[in-house]
């Protein structure tokens, strides 16, 4: 084991002895000083998760959240110095974290918050405006085969819990009053996208969720609409497209080449 491997191993093993080869000017126990590094590593990584998931933290309280995050951190250290992407898998960890079982929606709220961070930092692209769409709709024959390119910030998250309402309640000045009106056990689906510079969430129904997810999987418009209608026969394509427009969620509509050649 190299000296830095020993140093890193000691850092990541709480309560272990400090690595050999350390000294202090006054002969004091270097373990106490080494603990500064140990503390910096753990606290900064837990802070990173808390910064990304403030609502999840509020739902269970800071002490519980930080203890839970600490266990995740020890098993899931960052693999890149780009910390904006740290926390992937935290929601899956929470889902299996027994002490959090009493808050069944905690994992989904954390996932929503992590998706918001990714939407915030996603690549820039010019969204389609209504004029662009009107032009496209004129080409009605080709529309069923068209594929819609979504903005890099777009994400869809269906949940068996009221994730959007829970999140929104925490933006209120009086969180407990706002939470009083939320039925956490009601299913909600959310479309996340960056409108201008602001990450924005839209509550969507299950069929629209299927529709956007299908578009994201590069499915043609007719197939995506078909899947949505299978979920809910009342699925309204124009309403869904209007929502994507308002959410600045579309960047291009690509027609199959055979149609363009006609």
């Amino acid at each position: 084991m190299s000296p830095q491997a020993r140093f890193a191993a000691s850092l990541l093993t709480p309560g272990s002895r400090c690595p050999p080869g350390l000294m202090t000017w006054n002969g004091s126990d270097p373990g106490r000083r080494f603990d500064v590094y140990r503390n910096n590593v753990m606290v900064s990584l837990i802070d990173a998760l808390a910064d990304s998931c403030p609502v999840a933290e509020a739902l269970v309280g800071t002490r519980f959240f930080r203890a839970m995050a600490g266990i995740f951190v020890c098993a899931n250290l960052p693999v890149s110095p780009v910390m904006a992407h740290y926390g992937k898998g935290f929601d899956a960890f929470i889902r299996t974290f027994e002490p959090a079982a009493g808050v069944p929606y905690l994992a989904d709220v954390a996932r929503l918050e992590l998706l918001r961070v990714q939407a915030f930092h996603a690549a820039d692209a010019v969204p389609l405006k209504s004029a662009d769409l009107a032009h496209v709709l004129a080409n009605a024959d080709a529309l069923p085969g068209a594929r819609i390119a979504l903005h890099p910030s777009v994400a869809v998250m269906p949940s068996p819990f009221a994730i959007a309402s829970l999140w929104l309640a925490h933006q209120s000045d009086d969180v407990s009053a706002a939470l009083g009106g939320v039925d956490a056990m009601r299913a909600e689906a959310v479309l996340i996208s960056r409108v201008g510079l602001d990450v924005t969430m839209f509550s969507i129904d299950a069929a629209t969720s299927v529709f956007v997810t299908s578009l994201a999987a590069d499915m043609a418009l007719a197939s995506a609409a078909g899947r949505a209608q299978a979920t809910d026969p009342a699925f309204d394509i124009p309403a869904a497209l209007a929502l994507l427009l308002r959410g600045e969620a579309m960047i291009a509509i690509n027609f199959p080449e055979s149609m363009l050649n006609d």
Binding site: Q4, A8, L22, R33, H121
Partner: protein
């Protein structure tokens, strides 16, 4: 490999000899609405290694108003293994996009294998470590096509393996690699207290001719296992008076040098940061006046 037009050390643009602060998202809009009269801003490179969104939107606009320092915190120059080429690629892209007046990194390691530890960890001051750090800096400067500044560390432990003083170690790095020195005066003070050195002697023994930027920050006070003070480089409070005094002492030797107020935790309102920058600028102006009285025979 993209080679910058300003690749040679002589032509690499310099930060002005003024005060600046670390750019924080909390202050983006306020800075653009009423740009404060400061000399430059500094960013942490890794925070801007994201594809798009508000960080780049605001940085592009703020960068057009101020000279820019890009300060890396994740390159792990002191690691046992060579700098990560993927990370160097990301740095090269950021530098190419924003054309900073300065790029700096730390004398520390923060990655081991594929694990990023998110802290600046200490290196022993021995020949083996010296050779390794120099090789890594050579690679960084070659890949990025610039002369980087290396920051002296704040440390909490020392190593049995060290055979050189910190100042000799850093001086030799500067001599061999041609890199510049980012003199973190708070780190000098923190390390001096933690290892029972005289901070002013440390400053005098640094390769002062290579200093192109100064960092000032606040520290927190703890104690070691025997109750002696142990200072923590926390960046969470205003610059301490004792660090201002040490800064003034350093400026007596250096003359005016670009000086950053670093604040990464408990970020205060913008006017509070601007006031700290102005405090630094008052000392920079005094240093400019007294530069003519520079002690003779010093290699500065």
């Amino acid at each position: 490999m993209p080679v910058l037009a300003n690749a040679s050390p002589e032509s690499f643009p310099r930060l002005p000899s003024r005060g600046g602060f670390g750019l924080k998202p909390e202050h983006f809009r306020e800075i653009l609405a009423a740009p404060p009269d400061i000399g430059f801003v500094e960013i942490h490179a890794e925070n801007y290694m994201v594809a798009g969104g508000p960080f780049h939107h605001y940085l592009e606009r703020i960068r057009s108003l101020y000279p820019l320092s890009i300060h890396g915190v994740g390159l792990s120059i002191g690691a046992e293994t060579a700098p990560d080429e993927a990370h160097l690629d990301r740095l090269a892209a950021l530098i190419s996009r924003y054309q900073p007046e300065s790029f700096s990194e730390h004398l520390a390691w923060s990655s081991h294998g594929t694990t990023f530890l998110n802290d600046l960890l200490p290196v022993p001051y021995c020949t083996e470590s010296l050779n390794r750090v120099c090789n890594h800096i050579d690679r960084v400067q070659e890949r990025l096509g610039l002369r980087m500044l290396l920051e002296n560390p704040a440390t909490y432990v020392e190593f049995d393996a060290s055979t050189l003083s910190e100042t000799d170690f850093i001086s030799e790095i500067v001599r061999r690699t041609g890199c510049g020195l980012l003199l973190d005066v708070n780190n000098v003070y923190v390390s001096a207290v933690n290892h029972h050195r005289d901070a002013r002697s440390v400053i005098r023994a640094m390769p002062l001719a290579a200093v192109h930027q100064i960092h000032l920050a606040g520290f927190a006070t703890d104690s070691d296992a025997d109750g002696y003070p142990l200072l923590i480089d926390s960046h969470g409070s205003p610059v301490a008076q004792v660090v201002w005094d040490l800064y003034a002492f350093a400026l007596d030797y250096l003359g005016p040098v670009a000086t950053l107020i670093e604040r990464d935790n408990d970020i205060p309102a913008l006017p509070v940061l601007v006031a700290e920058v102005q405090q630094a600028e008052a000392l920079l102006r005094a240093a400019a006046v007294s530069k003519a009285r520079l002690p003779q025979g010093l290699a500065v």
